[in-house]
Amino acid sequence: MADIELRRLVIRAYHMDDVQFGDENKITTDGKMTITKDGLDALAGKYSEVIEKIDIQIIKPGDHDRYTNTIMDIIPISVKVLGKCGEGTTHTITGVYVMPTGVDVNGEQAHEFGSSEGNLKDMLYLNRAGTPADDDFIISFDITFKKGMGQERYAIIDAYRMVEEWMNTFRAQLKKFEGSKATEKHEYYDRIREGQKKVLVIKEMIAHGAMLDTWIFPDQPCGVEGGKSLIDYGAMPVMLTPNEFRDGAIKAMN
């Protein structure tokens, strides 16, 4: 029997070969990314009730023999170009991932159960689905919280909003990238494979509180804005199509 295609999602990837500090936050289709620290103080200032300051380090592939504060998440820079979550077109950057780290002004790590601060080469297992590969750049987005704020749920949420606000500069450019310049193009389908074994996936995700939280359906892939915590859904089951899942409908709020 033929497959019935319900909807198609195209994810175009644009690979960054080089990431450096420069005069502006910029990405190009020929694989160059520049980052500026200008504006970081102003961004932190917007969240001054919970955030003391932010800094950025560009970590080159293999340059992992260095101290890191606790790793809060690994986030791809992705943006919806056409259509709703799970259909249409999404652009994503490969070769570089955003790694927010968190500590408060007194050196208290932003963690719940176990903290990953230490030498980065020992604290990050590379080449997993959820971690950068050997040859990827990492943008360490280093957040210093106000005293005690690394343990407060609202402060963690604010921190992720701030990271997203910073990523939005790149998203706006990525959204306009020409389709033909993509380094990879993936097509995914929600489809009915008639006559084949019907399989349902169930994922239990934590919904306890600060750093033990999961958000779903953000406006942008792996984003925060527009999303909602599973806690606000009373932790009750929510059904996603495979394509919605593939399109960044889940944001870990570690």
């Binding site: 997993r128 019907k198 399989v199 996936v201 239990e204 033990l212 009373g234 929510v238 996603l240």
Partner: protein
């Protein structure tokens, strides 16, 4: 996301999830969807949410279900209850779960035989290494194999 640094799944993990990837690519599987439920703190809520997930599964009439979580310890309460409720409904079930030596199930069920332990830490503990105890494509292949055998057994009336 999960409990400690080594088991918790990052946003990037969800974006590139090996389970959804391999199930979607398998020509012998009609992937219905991904049902997400939260693991709350209270025990009563845990039982209600995980049972409701099994109820939704039953209403979808699947041939088989894969239950996954990146949590352990108190998250086993909901996890095992969900697997158990699906098993009791006569639906073949397999799973992915981190156990190692430190996170073995704190509750029991006769339906846990097809749950793959995706521990990667040499000592079987929750480490502080981000990504270490995450499931990989190899774990997913093992889990899909177990589910396919369970579905075949049901089809042929075997135990």
């Amino acid at each position: 996301m999960g409990v400690g640094p080594s088991t918790k799944e990052t946003s990037l993990h969800h974006f590139r999830d090996p389970l959804v990837k391999l199930l979607g690519e398998d020509p012998g599987i009609d992937l219905m969807g991904v049902l997400v439920f939260g693991s709350p703190e209270g025990n009563e809520e845990k039982i209600r949410c995980s049972r409701t997930a099994a109820v939704v599964a039953e209403c979808c009439r699947p041939d088989g279900v894969i239950v996954e979580t990146d949590g352990w310890g108190n998250l086993d309460v909901d996890y095992v209850n969900c697997v158990n409720e699906i098993g009791e409904r006569g639906i073949p079930v397999a799973g992915l779960n981190w156990s190692g030596t430190a996170g073995t199930f704190v509750v029991e069920s006769p339906y846990l035989d097809n749950v793959v332990d995706f521990n990667k830490n040499p000592e079987g503990i929750e480490s502080n290494i981000v990504g270490e105890n995450n499931y990989t494509e190899d774990d997913v292949k093992e889990c899909i194999k177990k589910l396919k055998i369970a579905m075949l057994k049901k089809e042929r009336g075997l135990k």
